[in-house]
Symmetry: C2
DNA sequence: CGATCTGTTGACGGCAGTCAAGTCAAGTGG
DNA sequence: CCACTTGACTTGACTGCCGTCAACAGATCG
Protein backbone atom coordinates (compact mmCIF):
# COMPACT_ATOMS: atom_id res chain seq x y z
CA UNK A 1 0.00 0.00 0.00
CA UNK A 2 1.50 3.27 -1.06
CA UNK A 3 1.53 6.18 1.35
CA UNK A 4 -0.39 9.22 0.13
CA UNK A 5 -1.46 12.55 1.43
CA UNK A 6 -4.93 12.51 2.95
CA UNK A 7 -7.19 15.37 2.00
CA UNK A 8 -10.21 15.83 4.24
CA UNK A 9 -13.35 15.41 2.20
CA UNK A 10 -16.42 17.55 2.33
CA UNK A 11 -19.24 15.35 1.21
CA UNK A 12 -21.92 17.93 0.68
CA UNK A 13 -20.43 19.24 -2.54
CA UNK A 14 -18.91 15.96 -3.71
CA UNK A 15 -19.58 14.96 -7.32
CA UNK A 16 -20.81 11.52 -6.25
CA UNK A 17 -22.89 12.69 -3.29
CA UNK A 18 -26.07 11.82 -5.23
CA UNK A 19 -24.81 8.51 -6.62
CA UNK A 20 -23.75 5.09 -5.45
CA UNK A 21 -23.70 4.34 -1.78
CA UNK A 22 -23.60 8.00 -0.73
CA UNK A 23 -27.02 8.51 -2.27
CA UNK A 24 -28.74 6.29 0.29
CA UNK A 25 -27.06 7.92 3.27
CA UNK A 26 -28.89 10.52 5.30
CA UNK A 27 -27.05 13.78 6.03
CA UNK A 28 -26.23 12.46 9.49
CA UNK A 29 -24.85 9.21 8.12
CA UNK A 30 -22.77 11.07 5.57
CA UNK A 31 -21.45 13.14 8.43
CA UNK A 32 -20.52 9.97 10.28
CA UNK A 33 -18.75 8.53 7.27
CA UNK A 34 -17.00 11.77 6.40
CA UNK A 35 -15.31 11.90 9.80
CA UNK A 36 -13.21 8.93 8.72
CA UNK A 37 -13.12 9.63 4.97
CA UNK A 38 -10.29 11.09 2.99
CA UNK A 39 -9.45 11.42 -0.69
CA UNK A 40 -6.57 9.72 -2.44
CA UNK A 41 -5.23 9.87 -5.98
CA UNK A 42 -3.76 6.99 -7.94
CA UNK A 43 -1.71 7.12 -11.11
CA UNK A 44 -2.50 4.77 -14.03
CA UNK A 45 -1.17 1.33 -13.21
CA UNK A 46 -0.86 2.03 -9.51
CA UNK A 47 -1.97 -0.72 -7.13
CA UNK A 48 -4.90 0.08 -4.84
CA UNK A 49 -5.50 -3.28 -3.15
CA UNK A 50 -3.36 -6.38 -3.22
CA UNK A 51 -4.89 -9.84 -3.47
CA UNK A 52 -4.75 -11.81 -0.19
CA UNK A 53 -3.88 -8.69 1.81
CA UNK A 54 -6.19 -7.62 4.58
CA UNK A 55 -7.41 -4.26 3.36
CA UNK A 56 -7.19 -1.35 5.79
CA UNK A 57 -9.46 0.90 3.79
CA UNK A 58 -12.26 0.78 1.31
CA UNK A 59 -13.65 3.49 -0.82
CA UNK A 60 -15.80 4.90 -3.53
CA UNK A 61 -14.53 5.83 -6.96
CA UNK A 62 -14.86 9.59 -7.47
CA UNK A 63 -13.29 9.70 -10.91
CA UNK A 64 -11.38 7.33 -13.15
CA UNK A 65 -11.58 3.62 -13.89
CA UNK A 66 -10.43 0.85 -11.55
CA UNK A 67 -9.77 -2.69 -12.73
CA UNK A 68 -10.10 -5.76 -10.52
CA UNK A 69 -7.79 -8.56 -11.61
CA UNK A 70 -7.06 -12.14 -10.66
CA UNK A 71 -3.95 -14.17 -11.42
CA UNK A 72 -3.32 -17.82 -12.13
CA UNK A 73 -0.21 -19.28 -10.54
CA UNK A 74 1.70 -19.15 -13.83
CA UNK A 75 0.92 -15.48 -14.39
CA UNK A 76 -2.09 -15.64 -16.67
CA UNK A 77 -4.28 -12.71 -15.77
CA UNK A 78 -7.97 -11.95 -16.02
CA UNK A 79 -9.76 -8.68 -15.31
CA UNK A 80 -12.93 -9.69 -13.49
CA UNK A 81 -14.58 -6.30 -13.09
CA UNK A 82 -14.27 -2.65 -14.04
CA UNK A 83 -15.30 0.02 -11.57
CA UNK A 84 -16.54 3.45 -12.62
CA UNK A 85 -17.34 6.61 -10.65
CA UNK A 86 -19.63 6.02 -7.64
CA UNK A 87 -18.78 2.30 -7.56
CA UNK A 88 -17.65 0.82 -4.27
CA UNK A 89 -14.10 -0.52 -4.00
CA UNK A 90 -13.48 -3.39 -1.63
CA UNK A 91 -14.81 -6.65 -0.29
CA UNK A 92 -16.50 -6.20 3.09
CA UNK A 93 -16.78 -9.09 5.54
CA UNK A 94 -13.68 -10.87 4.32
CA UNK A 95 -10.23 -10.84 5.83
CA UNK A 96 -8.52 -11.09 2.46
CA UNK A 97 -9.04 -9.20 -0.72
CA UNK A 98 -10.02 -11.76 -3.39
CA UNK A 99 -8.41 -9.70 -6.17
CA UNK A 100 -6.01 -6.96 -7.05
CA UNK A 101 -7.50 -3.52 -7.53
CA UNK A 102 -5.49 -1.31 -9.83
CA UNK A 103 -6.05 2.14 -11.26
CA UNK A 104 -6.58 1.87 -15.03
CA UNK A 105 -6.62 5.64 -15.47
CA UNK A 106 -5.77 8.49 -13.17
CA UNK A 107 -8.19 7.80 -10.34
CA UNK A 108 -9.52 9.56 -7.27
CA UNK A 109 -10.98 7.55 -4.42
CA UNK A 110 -12.89 8.56 -1.35
CA UNK A 111 -11.46 6.19 1.25
CA UNK A 112 -12.62 5.21 4.70
CA UNK A 113 -11.45 2.75 7.30
CA UNK A 114 -12.59 -0.81 6.68
CA UNK A 115 -13.63 -1.47 10.27
CA UNK A 116 -15.65 1.72 10.57
CA UNK A 117 -17.45 1.08 7.31
CA UNK A 118 -18.38 -2.45 8.32
CA UNK A 119 -19.76 -1.15 11.60
CA UNK A 120 -21.76 1.45 9.68
CA UNK A 121 -23.17 -1.22 7.36
CA UNK A 122 -24.19 -3.41 10.26
CA UNK A 123 -26.05 -0.58 11.98
CA UNK A 124 -27.58 1.32 9.07
CA UNK A 125 -30.17 -0.68 7.26
CA UNK A 126 -30.61 1.54 4.26
CA UNK A 127 -26.88 1.22 3.63
CA UNK A 128 -27.02 -2.54 4.11
CA UNK A 129 -29.96 -2.72 1.75
CA UNK A 130 -28.00 -0.72 -0.81
CA UNK A 131 -24.97 -2.97 -0.43
CA UNK A 132 -27.20 -6.04 -0.86
CA UNK A 133 -28.97 -4.77 -3.96
CA UNK A 134 -25.74 -3.59 -5.50
CA UNK A 135 -24.10 -6.97 -4.80
CA UNK A 136 -27.03 -8.73 -6.47
CA UNK A 137 -26.65 -6.46 -9.52
CA UNK A 138 -22.96 -7.27 -9.67
CA UNK A 139 -23.80 -10.98 -9.69
CA UNK A 140 -26.07 -10.35 -12.68
CA UNK A 141 -23.30 -8.46 -14.46
CA UNK A 142 -20.78 -11.20 -13.67
CA UNK A 143 -23.19 -13.79 -15.09
CA UNK A 144 -23.55 -11.77 -18.28
CA UNK A 145 -19.79 -11.59 -18.55
CA UNK A 146 -19.52 -15.36 -18.07
CA UNK A 147 -21.76 -15.80 -21.11
CA UNK A 148 -19.43 -13.51 -23.04
CA UNK A 149 -16.31 -15.36 -21.92
CA UNK A 150 -17.74 -18.81 -22.47
CA UNK A 151 -19.77 -18.45 -25.63
CA UNK A 152 -19.00 -15.35 -27.67
CA UNK A 153 -16.56 -15.07 -30.56
CA UNK A 154 -13.65 -12.63 -30.47
CA UNK A 155 -15.55 -10.15 -32.67
CA UNK A 156 -18.62 -10.32 -30.42
CA UNK A 157 -16.47 -9.91 -27.32
CA UNK A 158 -14.83 -6.74 -28.57
CA UNK A 159 -18.16 -5.32 -29.76
CA UNK A 160 -19.68 -6.13 -26.37
CA UNK A 161 -16.93 -4.32 -24.51
CA UNK A 162 -17.15 -1.25 -26.72
CA UNK A 163 -20.91 -1.23 -26.25
CA UNK A 164 -20.46 -1.45 -22.48
CA UNK A 165 -17.91 1.35 -22.40
CA UNK A 166 -19.97 3.55 -24.71
CA UNK A 167 -23.12 3.19 -22.63
CA UNK A 168 -21.83 2.70 -19.10
CA UNK A 169 -18.18 3.62 -18.89
CA UNK A 170 -18.46 7.36 -19.19
CA UNK A 171 -19.95 10.03 -16.96
CA UNK A 172 -23.69 10.38 -17.45
CA UNK A 173 -23.54 13.33 -19.78
CA UNK A 174 -21.04 11.59 -22.06
CA UNK A 175 -22.83 8.28 -22.38
CA UNK A 176 -24.16 7.23 -25.72
CA UNK A 177 -27.81 6.40 -26.20
CA UNK A 178 -29.67 4.97 -29.15
CA UNK A 179 -30.32 7.73 -31.65
CA UNK A 180 -27.47 9.99 -30.57
CA UNK A 181 -25.67 11.51 -33.57
CA UNK A 182 -22.47 9.48 -33.51
CA UNK A 183 -20.54 11.32 -30.84
CA UNK A 184 -17.07 10.07 -30.11
CA UNK A 185 -16.01 8.73 -26.77
CA UNK A 186 -12.65 8.12 -25.24
CA UNK A 187 -11.45 4.60 -24.56
CA UNK A 188 -9.86 4.48 -21.13
CA UNK A 189 -8.31 1.05 -21.52
CA UNK A 190 -5.20 -0.14 -23.29
CA UNK A 191 -5.55 -2.90 -25.88
CA UNK A 192 -3.93 -5.24 -23.40
CA UNK A 193 -6.48 -4.39 -20.71
CA UNK A 194 -9.34 -4.94 -23.12
CA UNK A 195 -7.83 -8.33 -23.94
CA UNK A 196 -7.44 -9.20 -20.27
CA UNK A 197 -11.11 -8.42 -19.62
CA UNK A 198 -12.29 -10.34 -22.69
CA UNK A 199 -10.23 -13.51 -22.35
CA UNK A 200 -8.30 -12.75 -25.54
CA UNK A 201 -4.78 -11.71 -26.54
CA UNK A 202 -4.12 -8.08 -27.36
CA UNK A 203 -3.24 -8.92 -30.98
CA UNK A 204 -6.69 -10.41 -31.42
CA UNK A 205 -8.27 -7.28 -29.93
CA UNK A 206 -6.34 -5.13 -32.41
CA UNK A 207 -7.53 -7.25 -35.32
CA UNK A 208 -11.15 -7.27 -34.21
CA UNK A 209 -11.21 -3.51 -33.66
CA UNK A 210 -9.87 -3.10 -37.17
CA UNK A 211 -12.47 -5.48 -38.51
CA UNK A 212 -15.33 -3.61 -36.76
CA UNK A 213 -13.93 -0.41 -38.13
CA UNK A 214 -13.78 -1.81 -41.69
CA UNK A 215 -17.37 -2.96 -41.33
CA UNK A 216 -18.37 0.62 -40.48
CA UNK A 217 -19.76 -0.33 -37.08
CA UNK A 218 -17.29 1.93 -35.31
CA UNK A 219 -14.93 4.59 -36.57
CA UNK A 220 -11.57 5.33 -35.10
CA UNK A 221 -10.05 8.72 -34.53
CA UNK A 222 -6.53 7.96 -33.42
CA UNK A 223 -6.07 4.95 -31.16
CA UNK A 224 -8.30 5.84 -28.24
CA UNK A 225 -11.12 7.94 -29.69
CA UNK A 226 -14.12 6.05 -31.03
CA UNK A 227 -17.40 6.99 -32.50
CA UNK A 228 -20.43 4.77 -32.95
CA UNK A 229 -22.61 5.76 -35.91
CA UNK A 230 -25.31 3.27 -34.97
CA UNK A 231 -25.51 1.99 -31.45
CA UNK A 232 -27.98 -0.73 -32.45
CA UNK A 233 -25.58 -2.05 -35.05
CA UNK A 234 -22.90 -2.30 -32.37
CA UNK A 235 -25.35 -4.06 -30.08
CA UNK A 236 -26.17 -6.56 -32.83
CA UNK A 237 -22.48 -7.16 -33.44
CA UNK A 238 -22.18 -7.89 -29.72
CA UNK A 239 -24.47 -10.93 -30.11
CA UNK B 1 -44.39 -22.77 -14.11
CA UNK B 2 -45.63 -26.30 -13.65
CA UNK B 3 -48.35 -26.97 -11.12
CA UNK B 4 -47.30 -29.25 -8.28
CA UNK B 5 -48.70 -30.49 -5.04
CA UNK B 6 -47.73 -28.38 -2.06
CA UNK B 7 -46.60 -30.30 1.01
CA UNK B 8 -46.59 -28.32 4.25
CA UNK B 9 -43.07 -28.17 5.59
CA UNK B 10 -42.02 -28.63 9.15
CA UNK B 11 -38.76 -26.78 9.51
CA UNK B 12 -37.62 -28.11 12.83
CA UNK B 13 -36.63 -31.51 11.47
CA UNK B 14 -35.60 -30.31 8.01
CA UNK B 15 -32.23 -31.51 6.73
CA UNK B 16 -31.15 -27.96 5.90
CA UNK B 17 -32.45 -26.35 9.11
CA UNK B 18 -28.83 -25.84 10.23
CA UNK B 19 -27.47 -24.68 6.89
CA UNK B 20 -27.82 -21.83 4.44
CA UNK B 21 -30.29 -19.10 5.17
CA UNK B 22 -32.34 -21.17 7.62
CA UNK B 23 -29.34 -21.35 9.94
CA UNK B 24 -29.42 -17.64 10.69
CA UNK B 25 -33.14 -17.57 11.42
CA UNK B 26 -34.36 -17.64 14.99
CA UNK B 27 -37.07 -20.19 15.84
CA UNK B 28 -39.66 -17.41 15.62
CA UNK B 29 -38.42 -16.31 12.22
CA UNK B 30 -38.44 -19.88 10.98
CA UNK B 31 -41.98 -20.12 12.22
CA UNK B 32 -42.85 -17.01 10.24
CA UNK B 33 -41.27 -18.35 7.08
CA UNK B 34 -42.73 -21.81 7.47
CA UNK B 35 -46.26 -20.42 7.44
CA UNK B 36 -45.76 -19.59 3.77
CA UNK B 37 -43.32 -22.38 2.89
CA UNK B 38 -44.06 -25.59 1.04
CA UNK B 39 -41.99 -28.30 -0.58
CA UNK B 40 -41.88 -29.06 -4.29
CA UNK B 41 -40.15 -31.74 -6.34
CA UNK B 42 -38.68 -31.30 -9.79
CA UNK B 43 -37.66 -33.98 -12.26
CA UNK B 44 -34.29 -33.74 -14.06
CA UNK B 45 -34.54 -31.16 -16.83
CA UNK B 46 -37.65 -29.57 -15.40
CA UNK B 47 -37.83 -25.78 -15.45
CA UNK B 48 -37.99 -24.03 -12.07
CA UNK B 49 -37.77 -20.36 -13.09
CA UNK B 50 -37.99 -18.85 -16.55
CA UNK B 51 -35.75 -15.97 -17.58
CA UNK B 52 -37.58 -12.60 -17.76
CA UNK B 53 -40.57 -13.97 -15.87
CA UNK B 54 -41.54 -12.34 -12.62
CA UNK B 55 -41.03 -15.14 -10.13
CA UNK B 56 -43.86 -15.85 -7.75
CA UNK B 57 -41.80 -17.94 -5.41
CA UNK B 58 -38.26 -18.42 -4.26
CA UNK B 59 -36.77 -21.22 -2.32
CA UNK B 60 -33.95 -23.16 -0.83
CA UNK B 61 -32.52 -26.32 -2.33
CA UNK B 62 -33.18 -29.26 -0.01
CA UNK B 63 -31.66 -31.91 -2.21
CA UNK B 64 -30.40 -32.17 -5.77
CA UNK B 65 -28.53 -29.84 -8.10
CA UNK B 66 -30.02 -26.80 -9.82
CA UNK B 67 -28.40 -25.14 -12.81
CA UNK B 68 -28.82 -21.46 -13.68
CA UNK B 69 -28.49 -20.83 -17.41
CA UNK B 70 -28.46 -17.89 -19.76
CA UNK B 71 -29.11 -17.89 -23.50
CA UNK B 72 -27.77 -15.84 -26.37
CA UNK B 73 -30.31 -14.86 -29.01
CA UNK B 74 -29.10 -17.56 -31.40
CA UNK B 75 -29.41 -20.30 -28.81
CA UNK B 76 -25.90 -20.57 -27.46
CA UNK B 77 -26.20 -21.46 -23.81
CA UNK B 78 -24.03 -20.93 -20.76
CA UNK B 79 -24.57 -22.32 -17.27
CA UNK B 80 -23.65 -19.45 -14.96
CA UNK B 81 -24.04 -21.15 -11.60
CA UNK B 82 -24.75 -24.48 -9.96
CA UNK B 83 -26.80 -24.61 -6.79
CA UNK B 84 -26.41 -27.32 -4.17
CA UNK B 85 -28.40 -28.18 -1.04
CA UNK B 86 -29.01 -25.19 1.27
CA UNK B 87 -28.37 -22.70 -1.56
CA UNK B 88 -30.94 -20.02 -2.17
CA UNK B 89 -32.86 -20.05 -5.48
CA UNK B 90 -34.01 -16.73 -6.85
CA UNK B 91 -33.13 -13.10 -7.41
CA UNK B 92 -34.73 -10.86 -4.77
CA UNK B 93 -35.40 -7.17 -5.47
CA UNK B 94 -35.80 -7.64 -9.20
CA UNK B 95 -38.99 -7.90 -11.21
CA UNK B 96 -37.46 -10.31 -13.71
CA UNK B 97 -35.45 -13.41 -13.26
CA UNK B 98 -32.08 -12.83 -14.97
CA UNK B 99 -31.68 -16.52 -15.82
CA UNK B 100 -33.40 -19.84 -16.23
CA UNK B 101 -33.28 -22.16 -13.24
CA UNK B 102 -33.55 -25.81 -14.16
CA UNK B 103 -33.29 -29.00 -12.15
CA UNK B 104 -30.15 -30.91 -13.17
CA UNK B 105 -31.03 -33.89 -11.02
CA UNK B 106 -34.15 -34.89 -9.17
CA UNK B 107 -34.53 -31.87 -6.89
CA UNK B 108 -36.54 -30.87 -3.86
CA UNK B 109 -37.07 -27.21 -3.04
CA UNK B 110 -38.50 -25.47 -0.01
CA UNK B 111 -40.46 -22.67 -1.63
CA UNK B 112 -41.96 -19.49 -0.21
CA UNK B 113 -43.75 -16.50 -1.68
CA UNK B 114 -41.45 -13.92 -3.19
CA UNK B 115 -43.22 -10.94 -1.63
CA UNK B 116 -43.27 -12.41 1.86
CA UNK B 117 -39.61 -13.32 1.70
CA UNK B 118 -38.61 -9.82 0.60
CA UNK B 119 -40.58 -8.36 3.46
CA UNK B 120 -38.84 -10.74 5.85
CA UNK B 121 -35.43 -9.71 4.51
CA UNK B 122 -36.22 -6.04 4.89
CA UNK B 123 -37.28 -6.46 8.51
CA UNK B 124 -34.85 -9.10 9.80
CA UNK B 125 -31.32 -7.87 9.87
CA UNK B 126 -29.61 -11.16 10.53
CA UNK B 127 -31.29 -12.52 7.42
CA UNK B 128 -30.33 -9.45 5.42
CA UNK B 129 -26.76 -9.76 6.67
CA UNK B 130 -26.75 -13.40 5.58
CA UNK B 131 -28.11 -12.52 2.14
CA UNK B 132 -25.44 -9.82 1.78
CA UNK B 133 -22.54 -12.03 2.82
CA UNK B 134 -23.76 -14.88 0.66
CA UNK B 135 -24.15 -12.51 -2.33
CA UNK B 136 -20.58 -11.28 -1.81
CA UNK B 137 -19.35 -14.88 -1.74
CA UNK B 138 -21.20 -15.60 -4.95
CA UNK B 139 -19.46 -12.64 -6.57
CA UNK B 140 -16.11 -14.15 -5.53
CA UNK B 141 -17.11 -17.50 -6.99
CA UNK B 142 -18.30 -15.87 -10.22
CA UNK B 143 -14.96 -14.05 -10.49
CA UNK B 144 -13.09 -17.31 -10.06
CA UNK B 145 -15.20 -18.85 -12.78
CA UNK B 146 -14.48 -15.89 -15.08
CA UNK B 147 -10.78 -16.65 -14.72
CA UNK B 148 -11.53 -20.24 -15.68
CA UNK B 149 -13.62 -19.26 -18.70
CA UNK B 150 -11.23 -16.59 -19.90
CA UNK B 151 -7.83 -18.09 -19.26
CA UNK B 152 -7.81 -21.84 -18.64
CA UNK B 153 -7.27 -24.58 -21.20
CA UNK B 154 -9.88 -27.26 -21.84
CA UNK B 155 -7.94 -29.75 -19.71
CA UNK B 156 -7.69 -27.29 -16.82
CA UNK B 157 -11.36 -26.43 -17.11
CA UNK B 158 -12.47 -30.04 -16.84
CA UNK B 159 -10.08 -30.69 -13.95
CA UNK B 160 -11.36 -27.57 -12.18
CA UNK B 161 -14.96 -28.69 -12.50
CA UNK B 162 -14.21 -32.19 -11.24
CA UNK B 163 -12.31 -30.68 -8.32
CA UNK B 164 -15.24 -28.40 -7.54
CA UNK B 165 -17.75 -31.25 -7.70
CA UNK B 166 -15.55 -33.56 -5.64
CA UNK B 167 -15.04 -31.04 -2.87
CA UNK B 168 -18.25 -28.97 -2.93
CA UNK B 169 -20.87 -30.73 -4.99
CA UNK B 170 -21.72 -33.55 -2.63
CA UNK B 171 -23.34 -33.65 0.81
CA UNK B 172 -20.83 -32.95 3.58
CA UNK B 173 -20.20 -36.56 4.46
CA UNK B 174 -19.45 -37.52 0.85
CA UNK B 175 -17.06 -34.69 0.05
CA UNK B 176 -13.50 -35.52 -0.74
CA UNK B 177 -10.67 -33.97 1.25
CA UNK B 178 -6.93 -34.08 0.78
CA UNK B 179 -5.64 -37.39 2.07
CA UNK B 180 -8.89 -39.29 1.69
CA UNK B 181 -8.32 -42.79 0.31
CA UNK B 182 -9.60 -42.31 -3.23
CA UNK B 183 -13.31 -42.75 -2.66
CA UNK B 184 -15.51 -42.52 -5.69
CA UNK B 185 -18.14 -39.89 -6.13
CA UNK B 186 -21.08 -39.60 -8.42
CA UNK B 187 -21.16 -37.01 -11.17
CA UNK B 188 -24.58 -35.40 -11.26
CA UNK B 189 -24.09 -33.63 -14.57
CA UNK B 190 -24.29 -34.84 -18.14
CA UNK B 191 -21.28 -34.24 -20.39
CA UNK B 192 -23.31 -31.60 -22.15
CA UNK B 193 -23.99 -29.77 -18.90
CA UNK B 194 -20.34 -29.87 -17.94
CA UNK B 195 -19.55 -28.36 -21.34
CA UNK B 196 -22.17 -25.67 -20.92
CA UNK B 197 -20.69 -24.65 -17.56
CA UNK B 198 -17.11 -24.69 -18.88
CA UNK B 199 -17.57 -22.85 -22.16
CA UNK B 200 -16.68 -25.97 -24.18
CA UNK B 201 -18.40 -28.47 -26.45
CA UNK B 202 -19.37 -31.84 -25.04
CA UNK B 203 -16.99 -33.66 -27.42
CA UNK B 204 -14.12 -31.71 -25.94
CA UNK B 205 -15.27 -32.59 -22.42
CA UNK B 206 -15.32 -36.27 -23.36
CA UNK B 207 -11.79 -36.08 -24.75
CA UNK B 208 -10.42 -34.22 -21.73
CA UNK B 209 -12.02 -36.63 -19.26
CA UNK B 210 -10.40 -39.47 -21.16
CA UNK B 211 -7.07 -37.65 -21.14
CA UNK B 212 -7.23 -37.06 -17.36
CA UNK B 213 -8.13 -40.68 -16.91
CA UNK B 214 -5.17 -41.84 -19.05
CA UNK B 215 -2.89 -39.61 -16.99
CA UNK B 216 -4.08 -41.40 -13.84
CA UNK B 217 -5.41 -38.21 -12.26
CA UNK B 218 -8.91 -39.60 -12.13
CA UNK B 219 -10.31 -43.06 -12.67
CA UNK B 220 -13.66 -43.82 -14.20
CA UNK B 221 -16.11 -46.46 -13.09
CA UNK B 222 -18.79 -46.38 -15.73
CA UNK B 223 -19.74 -42.98 -17.09
CA UNK B 224 -20.80 -41.17 -13.96
CA UNK B 225 -18.70 -42.66 -11.14
CA UNK B 226 -15.31 -41.09 -10.54
CA UNK B 227 -12.55 -41.60 -8.07
CA UNK B 228 -9.68 -39.25 -7.35
CA UNK B 229 -6.52 -41.03 -6.15
CA UNK B 230 -4.75 -37.76 -5.34
CA UNK B 231 -6.79 -34.64 -4.80
CA UNK B 232 -3.68 -32.45 -4.95
CA UNK B 233 -2.81 -33.83 -8.37
CA UNK B 234 -6.30 -32.92 -9.56
CA UNK B 235 -5.91 -29.46 -8.07
CA UNK B 236 -2.61 -28.99 -9.88
CA UNK B 237 -4.18 -30.14 -13.14
CA UNK B 238 -6.84 -27.48 -12.56
CA UNK B 239 -4.19 -24.74 -12.80
C1' DC C 1 19.44 10.30 -29.51
C1' DG C 2 18.26 5.80 -27.58
C1' DA C 3 14.97 3.66 -24.44
C1' DT C 4 10.50 2.41 -23.46
C1' DC C 5 5.70 1.81 -24.03
C1' DT C 6 1.75 1.12 -26.91
C1' DG C 7 -0.14 -0.36 -30.90
C1' DT C 8 -0.03 -2.75 -35.69
C1' DT C 9 0.76 -6.30 -38.97
C1' DG C 10 2.12 -10.81 -40.92
C1' DA C 11 3.22 -15.81 -40.87
C1' DC C 12 2.37 -19.95 -38.87
C1' DG C 13 0.52 -23.59 -35.97
C1' DG C 14 -2.30 -25.84 -32.52
C1' DC C 15 -6.23 -26.21 -29.64
C1' DA C 16 -10.66 -26.83 -29.63
C1' DG C 17 -14.92 -26.57 -32.60
C1' DT C 18 -17.64 -28.90 -36.25
C1' DC C 19 -19.49 -32.65 -38.57
C1' DA C 20 -20.43 -37.31 -38.87
C1' DA C 21 -20.69 -42.06 -37.63
C1' DG C 22 -21.04 -45.43 -34.28
C1' DT C 23 -21.57 -47.76 -29.40
C1' DC C 24 -24.17 -48.76 -25.52
C1' DA C 25 -27.90 -48.95 -22.17
C1' DA C 26 -32.50 -48.12 -21.09
C1' DG C 27 -36.87 -47.78 -22.37
C1' DT C 28 -41.32 -48.90 -25.20
C1' DG C 29 -44.55 -51.36 -27.42
C1' DG C 30 -46.03 -55.11 -30.35
C1' DC D 1 -38.90 -61.81 -26.08
C1' DC D 2 -37.52 -59.14 -29.88
C1' DA D 3 -37.50 -55.02 -32.90
C1' DC D 4 -37.15 -50.41 -32.57
C1' DT D 5 -36.38 -45.82 -30.62
C1' DT D 6 -34.18 -42.63 -27.83
C1' DG D 7 -30.70 -40.38 -25.16
C1' DA D 8 -26.08 -40.26 -23.46
C1' DC D 9 -21.66 -40.92 -24.64
C1' DT D 10 -17.52 -41.97 -27.63
C1' DT D 11 -14.44 -41.64 -31.44
C1' DG D 12 -12.36 -40.01 -35.77
C1' DA D 13 -11.46 -36.71 -39.51
C1' DC D 14 -11.18 -32.24 -40.73
C1' DT D 15 -11.23 -27.14 -40.25
C1' DG D 16 -10.66 -22.64 -38.64
C1' DC D 17 -10.36 -19.32 -35.06
C1' DC D 18 -7.39 -17.43 -32.31
C1' DG D 19 -2.85 -17.82 -29.91
C1' DT D 20 2.15 -17.46 -30.54
C1' DC D 21 6.13 -15.45 -32.24
C1' DA D 22 8.43 -11.86 -34.50
C1' DA D 23 9.24 -7.55 -36.69
C1' DC D 24 8.07 -2.95 -36.95
C1' DA D 25 5.85 1.88 -36.45
C1' DG D 26 4.85 5.87 -33.79
C1' DA D 27 4.68 8.53 -29.54
C1' DT D 28 6.72 10.05 -25.38
C1' DC D 29 10.43 11.16 -22.47
C1' DG D 30 14.77 11.83 -20.22
Amino acid sequence: MVAAQGIPSRCSDCVIRRAGLCRVLSPEEVGLLSTCAYHRSFAPGQLILRSDDEPVFWGAVISGVVKLTKLLSDGRQQIVELLFPADFVGRPFSRQSPYFAEAATHTRLCCFKASEFEALVKRHHALKQYMLESALSKIDAAHDWMVLLGRKTAAEKVASLLYLLATRGAPDQERLRAGDPAPSFRLHLKREEMASFLGLTYETVVRQIKSLSKAGIICLDGKREFCVPDLHALQRAAG
